[in-house]
């Protein structure tokens, strides 16, 4: 190896896959170059990456600087500029920009496609990736400025593949596995994610928003893609009608022939399955009971938390009248504290061509683009101007499902048109009956 890395070497042991060993193998492969690749960035880029990381382990500080390079010509996102602050010692990573490549919905891949991605990134970049970044993109970690356009050209011309979002853009939308391989999915997350991603390519590449904006699609209230915590617009699958019950299968759980929760608790002896203790008593609305050997659900009272379905997937299935809820305004804590998504549309059909959903999206964007301050997330604007304003701008009707509880204070800012007779009154008329 080019640099001694005594601290990093200590991360090669232990069972969990070692990123240090992986980068070392990449460094060795680049040095050997068995495929005779005409590397377009320094051959020793991986050696220098380990070298500069070792230095950070020693110093307890990063050695990267930010650069404002944002993308390829005409795009305002998809690339993050990075420069090393020790470029003489680690010349291979002196310029080390990130590229975000839009991932396919569901993160399914054919090996044919992945190999082509690898070949391109081997040839024109460091060969180091993130599979995947936090938002969902495939991340290419480290290349030089000159290669950015070349990589984009090859991606679009040879791989039919575009970059993802960064900056004040729509960020690359992400979804859960959905109907592809999950019985809980209430709508086709992949189809909706893919369709809307394509619909809003301009918003994704050319920043005109006050700040970042995220869509995420969860097929059911289990929220595997965490949309409710991190997406400005979170689409969560739900249903309106009754949970489908297979009474025989319920009895199979009760009798112990079927393991609860898809066998997720097999690592400990929790004793025999007790449907009262494990399902009925834990139901948050207490809308279930046993009637002899029959499980009964008062579906009208159900809030679709998924617990009973998660515990007995072979006995209980989501309803048939499915769609999604739309929650808005979630964000991480900076600045004023974390915000969870707020229910805006309790139920909407999630079917092609998604016209109703697009209407909601676009009315929210129009509002936020006009009223949002620089670097203000949608959730912060909602907090600043109030939920009523959002309703007014989206033209949606108020519904108790939008709130946890009604307001705690009577300080209602009545508008003049809401009060009979308006605000203008004749003081002299008043004085006829009330002395000064």
């Amino acid at each position: 190896m080019k640099h001694e890395t005594p601290m990093l070497d200590q991360l090669e042991t232990g069972p969990w896959p070692s990123f240090v060993s992986d980068i070392k193998q990449e460094a060795a492969n680049r040095a050997k170059n068995e495929k005779n690749v005409d590397y377009q960035i320094p051959v020793d880029v991986c050696d220098d990456l380990l070298g500069v990381l070792e230095l950070s382990f020693k110093h307890g500080r990063t050695h990267w600087k930010h650069g404002g390079i944002v993308g390829v010509f005409g795009y305002g996102g998809g690339v993050i500029g990075r420069y090393c602050d020790q470029p003489e010692e680690f010349s291979g990573v002196a310029h080390f920009h990130t590229m975000r490549v839009a991932q396919p919905a569901g993160k399914f891949y054919s090996t044919d496609y992945l190999k082509k991605i690898c070949d391109l990134w081997d040839f024109r970049g460091s060969g180091i990736t993130n599979m995947h970044g936090s938002t969902g993109d495939i991340i290419f970690l480290g290349t030089t400025t000159k290669q950015l356009e070349e990589i984009f050209y090859e991606l679009t011309h040879n791989l039919n593949q575009d970059l993802g979002g960064s900056g004040s853009n729509l960020r690359t939308p992400a979804d859960c596995i959905g109907k592809a391989r999950c019985e809980y999915a209430c709508f086709d997350t992949q189809h909706m994610c893919h369709t809307l991603t394509h619909e809003y390519q301009d918003e994704l590449h050319r920043p005109a928003f006050p700040y970042k904006f995220k869509f995420k699609f969860d097929g059911c209230p289990n929220c595997c893609v965490a949309s409710i915590a991190r997406a400005d617009m979170s689409f969560i699958g739900t249903w309106k009608d009754d949970i489908r019950i297979d009474q025989e299968a319920v009895q199979a759980y009760v009798g112990g022939e079927l393991k609860p929760n898809g066998n997720a608790h097999a690592g400990r002896d929790w004793g025999a399955f007790d449907i009262n203790k494990e399902v009925i008593d834990l139901c948050p609305t207490k809308c279930m009971w046993m009637d002899g050997k029959e499980l009964k659900i008062d579906n009208k009272e159900c809030t679709r938390c998924m617990h009973c379905i998660n515990v007995m997937p072979r006995a209980l299935r989501i309803g048939k009248e499915t769609g999604c809820s739309i929650l808005v305004g979630a964000k991480a804590p900076i600045l004023d504290g974390a915000q969870m998504g707020t229910m805006l549309v309790p139920f909407i059909k999630a079917e092609e061509p998604y016209d109703e959903i697009k209407e909601v999206i676009e009315s929210i964007w129009d509002y936020w683009m006009e009223e949002g301050k620089n670097r203000e997330r949608l959730g912060e604007l909602m907090k600043r101007q109030g939920f009523q304003k959002l309703l007014e701008m989206t033209g949606l009707k108020p519904d108790p499902r939008m709130v946890q509880e009604p307001r705690h204070n009577p300080y209602i800012f009545w508008k003049e048109e809401e009060v009979e007779g308006g605000f203008e009154r004749d003081i002299n008329e008043f004085r006829k009956y009330h002395q000064r």
């Binding site: 930010h66 650069g67 404002g68 390079i69 944002v70 993308g71 010509f73 005409g74 795009y75 305002g76 996102g77 993050i80 500029g81 420069y83 310029h95 400025t145 960064s166 900056g167 004040s168 853009n169 301009d202 050319r206 920043p207 005109a208 928003f209 006050p210 700040y211 970042k212 129009d366 683009m369 006009e370 301050k373 620089n374 670097r375």
Partner: protein
């Protein structure tokens, strides 16, 4: 507003402010253009493809500036 007129207006306004800063939010541009954001965006996109404006990004936020201006431009365009 015609494109050429809009272009000149953006160049003039941003040049005036050049002394103190070179990067602007999208909102600043739509204010200069006196347009609704969606209308302004069409002009701004074209100003970028015509090489008048360029993007700058903090990673989380995007800004716009006249091409080649700003104190970091030298370092980032790598000569």
């Amino acid at each position: 507003m015609e494109y050429e007129e809009a272009k000149q207006k953006v160049i003039d306004e941003l040049t005036k402010k050049q002394k103190s800063k070179s990067k602007f939010y999208f909102n600043d541009l739509s204010k200069i253009l006196e347009m609704k954001p969606r209308e302004a965006k069409k002009i701004v996109n074209k100003l970028v493809t015509d090489g008048v404006l360029e993007y700058w990004s903090s990673g989380s936020t995007s800004m716009y500036g006249l091409k080649g201006t700003g104190k970091q431009a030298g370092a980032e365009h790598e000569g």
